[in-house]
Amino acid sequence: MSNHSKAKQPVSDRRKFILNMAKGVGYAAVGGFLWSAYLDEAEASPLVLRPPAAIAEKDFLKTCIKCGLCVEACPYDTLKLAEPGDHKPIGTPFFTPRDIACYMCEDIPCVPVCPSGALDEASVTKNGKLDINSAQMGLAVIDENSCVAFWGIQCDACYRACPIMGQAITIEYDQNKRTGKHAFLKPVVHADACTGCGMCEHACITEKPAIFVLPREVAMGKAGSHYIKGWDKKDESRLKDAHAIHTTTQVSKKKAVDKLNAGLEGLLDE
């Protein structure tokens, strides 16, 4: 009965307006959800190597305007802008060392051209001069299982390809107990000097490179402030960031015997 009388009434303009607004909000909610879900996936690719002086990845993604000026400035065609289908955050610059590594130009042409500050000149400036050796594009990691130098076969391709030879990669000698008369010449990467340029990855002789560059965030662990090298003055400065964590545990006021007998009341009654 009430339905019948409602049907006869004209729908008021106010009601129409409110319902139309609500419809818009509904569309926006669905669209916003799909859009956000896509973005969440699209920005989550931790294995991208950025140009030198790139700020932290999370800030990089919101700051880079995707103009490609760094790509155009690169004289070696190292840098590329991610295309749809590259499975990297679309339009952002990256490089693939196995194809073309970073040649670590002394004047770092890709950095000063950046209009947005996604490439931060200050982070590669030392004593008022550009210093490509302070770049932190990534960190070379060695898979000792597939590196033939660890098998005992002589190869120092990565060591010789390294632009900071003798600092970022050194060769360590070891005894080859299998033959008893040969030496291992094992490459070792030093994280404090390695810039992640990828010349080693490019030069590696194995089918799939046994030495490869990963973003530092991915390649490195973090000791935290619980562990400090007490014999190293510089390392002790990290104690400044240390903070105590206070935990409180509620101590039971009951006697231990009561605790042991707890829950048996019902059983004892019977």
């Binding site: 916003g32 859009w35 919101k62 000026l69 209009p115 500050g117």
Partner: protein, 276 residues
């Protein structure tokens, strides 16, 4: 020949400008030309003058990025140009998607698809403003410039300059959508960048004016206009086209055989009189 020029002069000029800009960008990347470097999101003119997409930077601001001074100057240059002079001219004179949607629109006319699809449009032309607002909300929540990660406009111009990848798929979808689903679907209903420039360019000086005394009501202008709601005064009143949704593409001017439409500078005194 002169008739062809007369009927297509602005179209030819627009294609010249659109393709010219892309060629300059392409040349900068491929051969190191120093005329116009970068792409449509952010660029450098003659190695000195920065230009940046104000909508992209607005999304970055909302996402919480620190905006560098170069970008702010670039935004100033572009925003001031469209605000004072160009209006929504970006859409018809610069944006490369315009060539995709114009060709879809042309084919719609050739195959007479419009007449077969007379039902009411399923999407409102105001959707673009909703999507514009939504893009800012999503940018704020996700902490990245939301539209820049899905923009087919960027995919196209960036693709032409730096490599296309699967970007063709997005362009193809827009073409098919405009051709078979909705007339002027992308540019006239959905694109938030178009919506942004509609709002930004609302008060610009270059306007198309209608001279009612010359009008013979042939309605050719309404056939070619991609935003025909802006031509509401045709045959009724001599008025400038003041809607920000007019892209200043000037197709109406060149198809008009009676000189009833022409470009002119916004007449501020007349506006006061008509109360617009």
């Amino acid at each position: 020949m002169s008739k062809i020029w007369n009927n297509y002069r602005y179209l030819i000029l627009r294609r010249f400008v659109q393709i010219g800009i892309l060629v300059l960008f392409f040349g900068a990347n491929a051969w190191g030309w120093k005329i116009l470097e970068g792409n449509l999101t952010s660029s450098l003119l003659f190695g000195k003058i920065p230009m940046s997409d104000p909508y992209a930077v607005l999304q970055m601001v909302v996402a919480g990025a620190v905006i560098a001074s170069d970008l702010l100057i670039g935004v100033g240059v572009v925003a001031l140009f469209y605000f004072l002079i160009g209006g929504r001219a970006f859409c018809s004179w610069v944006c490369p998607i315009n060539m995709v949607t114009d060709s879809a629109n042309y084919l719609r006319r050739v195959f007479d698809i419009d007449r077969a699809q007379l039902e009411r449009s399923p999407i409102s032309r105001n959707s673009r403003y909703w999507i514009l607002g939504l893009s800012l909300i999503v940018s704020a929540f996700m902490g990245i410039a939301a539209f820049e990660f899905v923009s087919p406009i960027s995919m196209l111009h960036r693709g032409i300059v730096f490599g296309m990848g699967f970007g063709w798929a997005a362009i193809g979808m827009i073409f098919l959508f405009d051709l078979f689903v909705l007339k002027n679907g992308w540019c006239g209903h959905i694109c938030p960048l178009g919506g942004f420039y509609s709002l930004l360019g609302k008060f610009s000086f270059i306007r198309v004016h209608h001279i009612e005394e010359n009008c013979t009501l042939c309605m050719k202008c309404k056939v070619v206009c991609p935003e025909k709601q802006v031509l509401h005064m045709i045959g009724k009143e001599s008025l400038p086209i003041l809607s920000g949704e007019c892209t200043n593409c000037a197709r109406c001017i060149e198809v008009c055989d009676d000189d009833a439409l022409r470009f002119s500078i916004r007449d501020l005194i007349q506006n006061k009189k008509t109360g617009e």
